[in-house]
């Protein structure tokens, strides 16, 4: 008999600690990828993902059964990533967009040769402001629609769309730069 997420949560709340491993098995890849794309580092992503599951377990009593468990867990993971990003100083804020706009930087072909073995996509994502990266990862990697992202990220749909459009503009340029082709 297949157990639904809600049934597993119910059993956990009754004291069956081991059954929680079914939820960890099911969603570890989803949460790990989210964390990796947000943080850009595998070790940090592993920590954030594990802490997300532990926080989720400790907060099971606050899980509302009418919501999807995967969305609820995604929200927890997103908050973990935000906490870790706040401690970093090497992200580009919205005020520093000039550093990533056309007209600056070294010769594209030179940079491509230097970075040909790196994850061009992840590098480009890493250069986005955190709030832009969030909506791009949730929409195009996690596969949520704007309504779900609004609920998960706690941002209005209107603001999310503006961020998504601007993020695509930036990402398009950064990917082209990373691949060594001109805009």
């Amino acid at each position: 008999m297949d157990l639904t997420d809600e049934k597993i949560v119910e059993q956990c709340l009754k004291g069956d600690r081991e059954i929680y491993s079914l939820l960890v098995d099911k969603y570890q890849q989803m949460i790990y990828v989210l964390a990796y794309r947000m943080l850009g580092d595998e070790a940090a992503a592993k920590d954030a993902a594990q802490e997300s599951f532990i926080s989720g377990y400790l907060s099971l009593r606050s899980f509302r059964r009418e919501a999807k468990f995967s969305s609820w867990l995604t929200s927890i993971a997103l908050n973990k990533c935000r906490d870790m990003l706040r401690g970093r100083k090497d992200t580009v804020s919205v005020d520093d967009l000039g550093d990533v706009l056309p007209g600056k930087g070294a010769d594209p072909e030179e940079r491509y040769r230097q970075k040909e073995n790196e994850d061009v996509l992840q590098e480009a994502l890493g250069k986005l402001p955190d709030e832009y990266r969030e909506v791009i990862v949730l929409k195009h990697i996690r596969g949520l629609d704007y309504a779900e992202i609004a609920q998960t990220a706690g941002v209005s749909e209107g603001a999310l769309k503006i961020r998504a459009w601007r993020a695509r503009e930036m990402l398009r340029f950064l990917l082209k730069e990373g691949q060594g082709t001109h805009v």
Binding site: K14, G15, D16, R17, E18, Y20, S21, V24, D25, Q28, Q29, Y32, V33, Y36, R37, E42, K46, A49, Q50, F53, I54, Y57, L58, L121, I136, H140, I141, G143, Y146, K161, A164, W165, R168, L171, R172, L175, K176
Partner: protein
Amino acid sequence: MYKERELLQRLLDGELDESEREQMLKAIEANPFLKRDYKGFAETIQALEEAKHPLAPPYFTAEVMRKLPVLAVPFWKKAALFLFRPHIFRLNIATIAFLLLAAVSGAVFLMGRGTMQTAALEQGKANTVMVTFRLQAPGAQSVALAGEFNKWMVNETQLSRSKSGEWQVEVPLRAGTYAYMFVVDGRTWLPDPDADAYRDDGFGSRNSVRRVYHL
């Protein structure tokens, strides 16, 4: 131009209705710059949605479960969970044989104990003698027997009346000496005229005494 770029983004998000979509696609075909932008955004989204992602590290689940705290659960919940959750027990033949032997031995012991208790009861009965108590009281409505053998309880031992007005009861007693009295109609205490002896009761009256011997 800004309006066109906004429509382009909405097209990419699938938010245009059928007629808006058709108009936008026509505009894209007609405008090479818009066409370039549309292609660029579509390729960007394709790169994101088709990207290969790293796999979660091995033993991820085991590490999470190891780090999970143990939440306090009431004992009764733990007991209910244990009792009503299916369990799988793996036993070897020797263990099964031992458990069966223990179960059979336990059953035999309990049955034997029950037999012994019954025998003790029977033996207890065998050590008693049926002693008859009689009182001639044709006018009485009820006659009871109260004595040392029933803790002087008035309603414990009732005598039965015969047609001649004689009241009688048989009581199993072990060998010994017993003081007793008849209680007529629930209030009149009378000594037994046929008692073996009499004993002063300390209240100004005399108790009847019956001596019982083993045969």
